[in-house]
């Protein structure tokens, strides 16, 4: 009998079952790549130490530091100490843990350091068909190459360190089928915001999303990563895209991609991964990309999103909705356009790859940011930073009046000294507009790098197409 048609997810899942799930117990799932960072790993190493355990496969584990690290050059490279004591302690603790347990660390001054979800693909460690986990919910980013990648808690970080396995129930599958061409000025960020707006912030709970269709096929790898990155904002632990020639071209020749005969073998295996023609998903949703406008959030979760030309909706009788608008200082019926902005943040694992910086710089070239506005540009990795500098993008940002920093999570989550002030409005290319996410009392509007650049120039929420 012919094998039943399978989805990409089914294939990757099955290939990693040490033992399949049963009514009584979850599957034991093998993890190919475990990425760790300074914030969610210390307590996991502590458990290993308490129980006298070792890291089972150190060569399948890679550490970096990104969340609590400073982005000021002097603090990163030692001119001045790290300003935050607790961050300094976490950085030191990761160094000690990696040395003691034999885990490779791309430390604070390493030329390949960066946001964990930027460097995995950049190094070629993120590969189709792999299972990848990290103590961070935006691990879904790595699914862009056709890997099964998801965020885990610190207890599970300990499990993966000690056994290279996790206990998991098999999630359901959700196909998001996207057709039509994105219009000029509309980016992958706008597309994923529109998808989250459609699914809602818990629409993907219990599911792994596969993004499919001609629009997705036409995206480059950076754009695919932006899309998969925000799967968790729809509640889905993982988002995946079937690997294709775009994927292989991106991975070929990267420092840790397979080479020579190993590359040929890998390619052959990867080509068998995409979802079979007749495979069934548990759910399917469709979206027309040609109708997507530049999107911007107005509330305190990423599902509270509207086209940039839209008005803030009314939802009478919804206390949480009113509370969100009170927090944001916005009123139902108000157009979001022309809302004054204090801060623009260009960065994060969602939008700090080279193409994101190019897109924003393209709009900023020869322009200045609005008087009194602060713009922070934080490349996703040290490599992105070097590439951007080689192209002169740093000059474009600096001449426009923005700050140009070392890589890290920075103002996405404000635990490293880069924060938005209380009551200030920030247009941010990151992934979360939760209350206080960018600093206590900060008000975040999520948007694309292009929209963020336009908002920086005008000092108000601006449709980027007006400046293109």
């Amino acid at each position: 009998m012919a094998r039943a048609p399978q989805t990409l997810f089914d294939k990757v899942w099955r290939a990693h079952e040490v033992s399949a799930e049963s009514a009584d117990s979850p599957a034991v799932l093998y993890i190919d790549l475990h990425l760790i960072h300074e914030v969610t790993s210390p307590q996991a190493f502590a458990v290993l130490r308490e129980r006298g355990l070792t890291v089972r496969r150190p060569e399948r584990t890679l550490a970096t530091m990104d969340h609590s690290t400073p982005t000021l050059t002097a603090q990163v490279f030692g001119g001045t100490p790290i300003a935050l004591d607790a961050a300094r302690r976490q950085v030191r603790e990761l160094e000690v843990n990696c040395a003691e347990f034999g885990v490779e660390l791309l430390g604070l001054t390493h030329s390949q350091r960066g946001i964990v979800h930027i460097i995995g693909p950049e190094l070629g460690l993120t590969q189709p068909g792999k299972t990848i986990v990290c103590g961070d919910s935006h691990t879904s980013t790595h699914g862009a190459v056709g890997a099964l990648a998801f965020g885990i808690g610190t207890t599970e970080v300990g499990h993966a360190l000690a056994t290279q396995c996790l206990l998991q129930r098999k999630p359901r599958t959700l196909a998001v089928n996207v057709s039509g061409e994105l219009r000029a000025g509309v980016t992958a960020k706008d597309l994923i915001l529109a998808i989250i707006g459609r699914l809602g912030v818990s629409g993907g709970t219990g599911h792994v999303i596969e993004y499919r269709g001609e629009t997705i096929r036409a995206l480059d790898m950076d754009e695919r990563m932006t899309v998969c990155n925000m799967s968790i904002e729809a509640g889905a632990r993982a988002g995946m895209i079937g690997p294709d020639e775009t994927t292989y071209r991106y991975l070929e020749g990267r420092p840790r991609s397979p080479r020579g005969a190993a590359w040929e073998r890998a390619l052959e295996a990867w080509r068998a991964l995409p979802t079979d023609a007749l495979a069934r998903f548990d759910r399917e949703v469709g979206l027309n990309a040609a109708a997507v406008e530049p999107m911007i959030t107005y509330g305190t979760n990423p599902g509270m999103v509207i086209p940039i030309g839209g008005t803030i909706p009314q939802r009478s009788g919804d206390a949480a909705f009113s509370q969100a608008l009170t927090y944001m200082g916005l009123t139902p019926g108000q157009p979001i356009r022309d809302q004054p902005v204090n801060v623009v943040f260009l960065g994060s694992c969602t939008n700090a790859r080279l193409s994101d910086l190019r897109s924003a710089a393209g709009l900023l070239r020869g322009r200045r940011i609005a008087p009194g506005l602060r713009m922070l540009v934080v490349p996703g990795s040290q490599q992105v930073k070097r590439q951007a500098e080689a192209e002169g993008l740093d000059r474009v940002f600096l001449e426009a009046g923005a700050e140009w920093r070392e890589s890290g999570c920075s103002m996405c989550l404000g635990m490293n000294g880069d924060v938005v002030g209380r009551g200030e409005y920030s247009v941010s290319t990151s992934n979360r507009n939760f209350e206080g996410r960018q600093g206590s009392g900060a008000r975040t509007l999520l948007a694309s790098p292009l929209t963020a650049a336009a908002c920086a120039v005008r000092g108000r929420v601006t449709d980027p197409r007006e400046l293109m």
Partner: protein
């Protein structure tokens, strides 16, 4: 981990939907390198004024909330970041169960690893609980039931392995370590 069989407690209610883990424990408290002591930062930005004094209008600061071990929350509680600091903070504060119509995946998984029972109930049950803050309810892990003070018992889903872990205080890491030979066999064939 201590076995978890039956819990009877009054509830505290946070009715809003989509309460994310950044609210449960803001990122600036993630610079710790231990699990302990996070209870005092639980819901920090809702619980305290910017100068650190408790806000009188926040439910956890009310005298009625004292000693409550069950949190009733709106739909999609625990969404967002995978930080296990969220269940650590809830447990350290004294909560042993969270009830909602829907709980975020990673949060729910993290709760189970910390003896915090994630309970999902239907809309009418949730609406009743939200309308009756402070109600004394009983959660029975073995039976998988939530019993309201009205005497009505509703069942809640609990994955079989998770139930066993809670009831027997089974340690998942110990369970995985015992699978060593299967893991080695997998590594040989992969």
């Amino acid at each position: 981990m201590e076995p978890f069989t039956i819990l009877t407690s009054r509830t505290v209610v946070l009715p809003g939907a989509n309460i994310d883990t950044d609210q449960i424990i803001p990122a600036r408290f993630l610079t710790t390198t231990t699990r302990e002591g996070l209870g005092r930062h639980l819901f920090a930005d809702w619980r305290y004024l910017p100068d650190g004094t408790p806000r009188g209008d926040f439910v956890l600061n009310s005298p009625q909330a004292r000693g409550c071990r069950i949190l009733v929350a709106g739909r999609n509680f625990g969404c967002g970041s995978s930080r296990e600091h969220a269940p650590w903070a809830l447990a350290d504060y004294g909560f042993r169960a969270v009830i909602s119509t829907e709980l975020a995946d990673i949060f729910s998984s993290n709760c189970l690893k910390n003896g915090l029972l994630p309970v999902t109930v239907d809309e009418p049950t949730s609406a009743w609980l939200i309308a009756h803050p402070g109600a004394e309810v009983t959660l029975d892990v073995s039976a998988g039931t939530l019993t309201l003070p009205t005497g009505r018992a509703v069942s809640f889903p609990l994955e079989a392995f998770a139930r066993r872990c809670l009831l027997q205080g089974v340690d998942e890491l110990g369970y995985l370590l015992e699978r060593r030979h299967e893991i080695e066999a997998y590594e040989r064939r992969a």
